[in-house]
């Protein structure tokens, strides 16, 4: 920040503004799924190493959030939901966000490599690259399938957590990745169906606006159907078990029923009950993900006592 601009504005960014750049709410989900990935792994991790590993994953995710806000400041300014973010609201300079994003990315990846292993650090580096460059800079503004492919960035954390513990990649961690990856589109499109968005004004292609709401409803159903075998398949691996399987069956039926309900509706029905079904399915999708990962955690806890697992 130059001295000139400092004299121009009386506002001085505080730590809270910089923290907001890291997207704390996204970070909390990342911490949760990464922690589950780390704890369900068959290799015990020293608690402090595990703590540093999760911290690095969280900071790396935050850094990619800051880079995303730096890149997207122009469209964030145009949308109501994002206009209050630190850069569009003028509290933080774009250059500061870029600097913080790059610096924290470097710190998180290097510290993760030193504290744990190079595979986990490489996965984290790739996640940051994927979210900041592939999703933010390329996919988001070019295709209505941005959320499908971009969802991979949010799906990596449990895989990194697993790599922190085991130093490897296996069917279990790939399926945890696949679970979040396949869950993201129906979750997000359910939201897009009831939130009055101004993506169109910002020129961001969203399925609801490029292909219409009926197509979006069909897509919710198709992706939910594709999600079911992934969720159940995870239950057959070494980290699954009867308890996980029971939770998965119930949650998948619930989510699937919601997706079918959505696919049978039209705009008139949505207006009539003020998107009650869509809002409900969106909530179910949140419970869905939490229930699956909590069930995995519970299976891991049971294994300590010789229970759980197949």
């Amino acid at each position: 920040m130059s001295d000139i601009s400092m004299q121009d504005s009386s506002y001085e960014a505080n730590m809270g503004d910089y923290f907001a750049l890291l997207k704390p709410r996204v970070m909390s989900l990342v911490v949760f799924t990464a922690l589950v990935g780390l704890l369900v792994a068959p290799v015990p991790v020293h608690p402090f190493i595990g703590f540093v590993g999760i911290l690095c994953i969280a900071v790396g995710a935050g850094a990619s959030g800051a880079l995303n806000m730096w890149w997207d400041a122009d469209i964030d300014r145009l949308m109501k939901r994002t206009a209050t973010r630190p850069i569009p609201s003028g509290r933080v300079e774009p250059g500061e966000a870029l600097g913080i994003g790059l610096a924290l990315s470097g710190f998180a990846v290097v510290l993760l490599a030193l504290a744990t292993n190079f595979l986990a650090a490489s996965l984290l580096a790739f996640t940051i690259f994927f979210y900041a460059v592939v999703y933010s800079m390329y996919l988001k503004r070019s295709t209505p399938h941005n959320i499908v492919i971009g969802g991979a960035a949010g799906a990596f954390p449990p895989m990194i957590g697993w790599a922190v513990a085991t130093g490897g990649v296996s069917i279990e961690s790939v399926l945890m990745f696949a679970l979040i990856f396949m869950w993201t589109p129906p979750h997000f499109w359910a939201l897009a169906l009831f939130v009055k968005s101004d993506y169109g004004r910002a020129g961001v292609p969203m399925l609801t606006e490029t292909h219409g709401r009926d197509t979006t409803r069909r897509h919710v159903l198709i992706y939910t159907i594709a999600l079911v075998p992934v969720a159940l398949g995870l239950g057959l691996t070494s980290i699954g078990g009867p308890f996980y399987m029971a939770v998965a069956v119930v949650m998948n039926l619930w989510f699937l029923k919601g997706a079918i309900d959505i696919s049978r509706r039209d705009d008139a029905a949505c207006e009539a009950d003020k998107h009650k079904v869509e809002i409900n399915v969106f909530k179910v999708s949140l419970y869905y993900l939490f229930a699956h990962f909590l069930a995995l955690l519970f299976e891991a806890a049971l294994r300590q006592y010789g229970l759980g697992g197949w």
């Binding site: 001085e12 730590m15 910089y18 020293h46 190493i49 540093v52 510290l111 504290a115």
Partner: protein, 66 residues
């Protein structure tokens, strides 16, 4: 003689400066903690000395002892 020179920017930047102080202290704590944990995990403290890039005759096991 008082050495205290208060500038307007000190008050304005107080929040940030303390924030950076806390972050740096946390960073030092993490690096220290990692060092302690990693050294203890070695089991044999002599392995830590082996990371020194200088020849250490005293850590080379004598013939017949191992």
């Amino acid at each position: 003689m008082t050495m205290k020179v208060e500038h307007e920017v000190h008050g304005r930047r107080k929040n940030r400066n303390y924030g950076v102080l806390i972050l740096l202290l946390c960073f030092v704590g993490i690096v220290l903690g990692l060092t302690v944990v990693k050294v203890i995990q070695l089991g044999d403290a002599r392995k830590f000395e082996a990371t020194d890039h200088v020849a250490r005759p005293q850590i080379i096991p004598e013939e017949g002892t191992e």
